[in-house]
């Protein structure tokens, strides 16, 4: 590398020049992807080449899986079936009552003139695999742009919130789990009604932050979504408080929670439909518009004053 070849052996640009070019290119990609999130189109285009290879790589595991389920014994299936029937019978009473309650709730809300609650609906998706990136907690599901999935949709399973769709590809989508370090969910403690935000810790646990050391929280308290974010529907279970550390030298209590949904397990999940954005009431919207005008006018006045002073 240290010896420069004679000019008649053409070997392209010098290695150091090539190195600086490629390093600059990668660093540019890194910065743009980390700070601006504008490379999703490039990612989607590249995924058209990588996903077939990924699919091919996952075939053996899927085959093994299928073979395993093929050889499940009949007695086991019968047992499962009986148990499912029992659970269904147990649930049917609550389900029937819930339907009646929902209708009643709707009627009462109409009487009170409160906005109707949005019905939870969505589409089923299968978890394909967990993403290979060891720095984040994401899973990949088998619904994508083809099924009109959009980034931001909440994902739940039978026990509670699993995560949120963060990236959509033509045939698959990436879901950031609530245990990811960058994921936050606005929640409400069921017992007290206190609102807060729960953050992922990255190790499978969640942390309820910014609650004062003397806040009324007990071990075993269930957290549900508060719905204040306009993304998650209110009332879905998120986590259960497992450990509380009250240290008087800190102003906040350290509250650890475990997710209720089978966040790290492989199963089927439900992608909830996105919540429609709630428009401001008319008089508030008008006020906000008026304030904008006023503030610009005021800043204009201030400028004039400053000019006069000068």
């Amino acid at each position: 590398m240290d010896h420069q070849p004679p000019p008649f052996f053409k070997r392209g640009p010098a290695p150091v020049a090539l190195l600086s070019f490629y390093v600059a290119l990668s660093v540019a990609l890194l910065v743009v992807d980390a700070r601006m999130q504008t490379l999703e189109v490039l990612r989607q285009a590249l995924s058209l080449f990588t996903h077939p290879v990924q699919h091919l790589a996952h075939l053996p595991a899927q085959l093994l899986d299928n073979a395993g389920s093929y050889f499940v014994s009949v007695s086991r299936l019968q047992e499962d079936n009986a148990q499912l029937k029992r659970v269904r019978l147990e649930n049917v009473t609550t389900l029937l009552r819930t339907q009646q309650l929902e209708v009643e709730n709707e009627r009462l809300r109409k009487l009170l003139g409160v906005k109707e609650r949005q019905q939870a609906s969505g589409q089923l998706a299968q978890i394909l695999y967990s993403a290979r990136d060891p720095y984040s907690r994401r899973i990949v599901i088998d619904k994508g742009q083809q099924d009109k999935v959009i980034a931001g949709q909440p994902v739940i399973d039978d026990a509670g919130i699993v995560g949120q769709v963060t990236r959509v590809f033509p045939f698959v989508a990436e879901v950031t789990l609530i245990t990811d370090k960058e994921q936050a969910v606005p929640v409400q403690i069921v017992r007290t009604g206190q609102r807060s935000v729960v953050f992922g810790l990255g190790n499978g646990q969640l942390e309820l932050r910014f609650l004062p050391a003397n806040a009324d929280v007990q071990e075993g308290d269930v957290l549900v979504t508060s719905g204040l974010d306009g993304i998650f529907l209110p009332g879905f279970p998120v986590a259960k408080v497992t450990h509380i550390e009250r240290n008087t030298s800190y102003s906040f209590a350290r509250i650890l929670c475990m997710p209720l949904a089978g966040v790290e397990n492989f199963s089927e999940v439900m992608i909830l439909d996105p919540r429609p954005a709630v428009a401001l009431p008319e008089h508030l919207a008008r006020e906000a518009a008026g304030r904008d005008v006023k503030s610009t006018a005021r800043s204009g006045l201030a400028k004039k004053k400053r000019l006069k002073k000068d």
Binding site: L18, S26, S47, V53, Q54, H58, Y129, R132, S136, R138
Partner: protein
């Protein structure tokens, strides 16, 4: 009589399709659902080092960059993270290729280990800078396993280039 694994053995020229094939197999191995096992070797990085050491004229930084971007997309990681690491390691491997090939295989593995560690260290520092959570110490086990696999890998990947042993008693040389 030369031993079959010596690095000074005279080999047939490599076939370009075999390099491409081995890299695609490495991608497939990387895409296997082994996310739960943190200590798995990064096969693509290993193959890039191998071919950069053996054939620095054929496998260079351009190919490493492309493979890195492919890994980034498939890995759901930051775009450019693998690309940066692979480009740096391809440069390092091709710069050291003459020196590495001078040694027997066990000592080659010892020299390749820091290069493979560089791949993890570059990715680790990039992600720490952008505020991800740490993957734990087992993340750095991969390069160790890869380095241990180096002699076996060399034997396997050079098999197609081994000349048939024909014992011609009348040949002058």
């Amino acid at each position: 009589m030369q031993t079959s694994y010596s690095s000074s053995r005279i080999l047939l020229p490599v076939r370009p399709w075999f390099i491409g094939f081995s890299l695609i197999v490495a991608l497939l191995l990387n895409f296997l659902p082994t996310a739960a096992w943190r200590g798995m070797p990064d096969w693509v990085a290993l193959l890039i080092v191998f071919w950069s050491v053996r054939e620095p004229r054929r496998v260079g930084m351009g190919l490493a960059f492309l493979l890195g971007v492919a890994m980034d997309v498939a890995d759901a990681s930051l775009l450019g993270q693998h690309a940066l690491a692979y480009v740096l390691v391809a440069y390092g491997a091709s710069a050291l290729s003459r020196r590495i090939l001078w040694f027997p295989l066990a000592q080659q593995a010892l020299q390749v280990f820091p290069l493979l560690l560089l791949v993890q260290v570059v990715q680790f520092s990039v992600r720490m800078l952008t505020g991800a959570d740490s993957p734990g110490i087992s993340y750095f086990l991969g390069p160790l396993l890869s380095a241990l696999l180096w002699p076996l890998l060399t034997f396997l990947l050079l098999l197609p280039q081994h000349q048939p042993v024909d014992r011609d008693a009348n040949r002058p040389l």
